[in-house]
Amino acid sequence: MRRRRTSSGIMTVSAVAYAVTVFLLLPTILIIPMSFGPDRYLHFPPNGFTLHWYAEFFADPEWVDSTLFSLRIAVLTMIVATVVGTLVSLALVRGRLPGKSLFELLVVGPVIVPNIALAIAMFLVFDRLRLTGTTVGFVVAHTALALPFVIFTLLASLYRFDADLERAALSCGAGPLRAFFHVTLPLIAPGVVSAALFAFIISFDEPVISFFISDLDHKSLPRKMFEDIDYNISPTLAAVATMLTGLTLLALTAGHFLRRGMSRS
């Protein structure tokens, strides 16, 4: 009796859990077929198939420019955040950093402080420093935002890494720099790749700070999307959303296989 009640309980909870999974995925997935529909108003199920909205995206210089601008910022942010994050992670794990707890507080800072607060504050200061709408401004802002995730990913790999391997390299006559490049870096590479991907996605998708530090000529893709959603829900957005979802999926799977390949070799 009890046994049957237990298993029916488990089945109920499982059913709820699968329903939640559907809830989690369905809205985004529904957009995909709708982006191929021919109507001006999105319809489900779509009444036909067209690539018109995708063509519209690539024909509109505003969409293309903002996409290229976001791509450039995301790539630069990825590089800067990964390098800066690796250096400070090494200092945190291997170093004797004075005021270490202050650093740890600073690392979580951009996560604890709501993005809207950071965005307003950066808008104020960047405006005065003439950094709004500039690549430098965006990259610095997005780097600060991505660093916590980059650092936590790297700390996890560094803590898992056996420090005796570095000692072994030193005892073999490698200086600290060569020990890092020959031994440490190849072995924490999966973590570095994850961190870099996180930084890329965080920058490329970042809507709040981008909203405030964009200017009329230099808009990030999220800012452009925000404007379009606010003013006219055109099916071009569905095409953009579909491409972004695909890109995220691609980045996650690429990261997964890259890391698997690396940890195997």
């Binding site: 200092a91 600060a144 809507p207 972004l244």
Partner: protein
């Protein structure tokens, strides 16, 4: 005797303080330029313009409009947190029980939304909920309603969309907590006479409370300052704190007052974080991809 080395040569494990600081310098510079300096300037502005006093802060609490926005922000954030917990716990439990392919698929189901643009997911809700959106199309087709229902710009829509957007931040800490419980505990509880639900209530639930607290805090904090989803799904009718600040800045250029609102928000967030200091575990969000 040669001098004690000051650079990278100090052993395999430990870089010297000087070398460590050198490694941390780029980080410090970025954080000063994009975190400390902006926040300091804004808060300074809120306290010193037009005069050095607390007038800007008094204004936040004086006017009913602003109080109503703050209360709505707290209420929506709380509702979103509860909704995310109720939806997230069963899912986290299912993931923790799964193995192999199912585990991978379920994890992707949580991680894909986490890393998909907030704008894309918010846009999806707009497409679903607008007057001629998918939900109204279905309702009309089924003959359940005569005229399209107004979903957008209601509090319910905001709570629904935000719960959806923030759900991964609840599921991942819960999953981490549940995965940390050995199956033996549950079996032991059952052997000792606890039925399925009793075993859950007395063994699993207490052990996952830190995960519950961590997920709730994370979702609540994110909800408090959330901008995109409330702005687009809630509109001016359901204005939350972030939209209020945006309006003050972009339309009225009132920096000192915006700074004061941010100051209040920050003080509140800091209190929460200090109280629940140990529960912020960022690694849970990046560890398992």
């Amino acid at each position: 005797m040669t001098k004690r080395p000051t650079s990278f040569t100090l052993g395999g494990r430990t870089y010297s303080p000087a070398a460590s600081l050198l490694l941390a310098t780029p980080f410090i510079l970025v954080m000063i330029l994009a975190f400390l300096l902006p926040l300091f300037t804004l808060l300074h502005e809120s306290l010193s313009v037009p005069k050095f006093n607390l007038d800007n802060y008094a204004r936040v609490f004086d006017q009913e409009v602003y109080l109503r926005v703050m209360l709505r922000t707290l209420r929506i954030s709380a509702l979103v947190t509860i909704a995310a917990l109720l939806l997230g716990y069963p899912l986290a439990w299912l993931i923790a029980r799964s193995r192999g392919l199912l585990l991978g698929l379920l994890l992707i189901a949580v991680l894909l939304p986490l890393w998909t643009s907030v704008l894309v997911r918010t846009y999806a809700w707009l497409v679903l909920l607008q007057r001629n959106g998918v939900v109204n199309q279905i309702l009309t087709a089924l003959g359940l309603v005569d005229a399209p229902v107004q979903f957008l710009y209601t509090e319910g829509a905001v709570v629904l969309a935000m719960s959806h957007v923030l759900l991964p931040f609840m599921v991942l800490p819960l999953y981490a907590a549940l995965r940390g419980i050995p199956d033996d505990y549950m079996r032991a509880a059952q052997v000792l006479g606890a039925g399925g639900f009793a075993a859950f209530r007395h063994v699993v639930l207490p052990l996952t409370l830190p995960g519950v607290a961590s997920g709730c805090l994370m979702v609540f904090l994110l909800a408090l300052g959330f901008f995109v989803t409330p702005a687009l799904v809630g509109g001016p009718q359901q204005m939350m704190l972030a939209t209020l600040v945006q309006q003050q800045v972009t339309e009225l250029l009132d920096w000192p007052f915006s700074g004061a609102i941010i100051g209040v928000l920050l003080a509140f967030v800091l209190c929460l974080v200090l109280i629940f200091n140990r529960l912020i575990r960022l690694d849970r969000f990046v560890g398992q991809v």
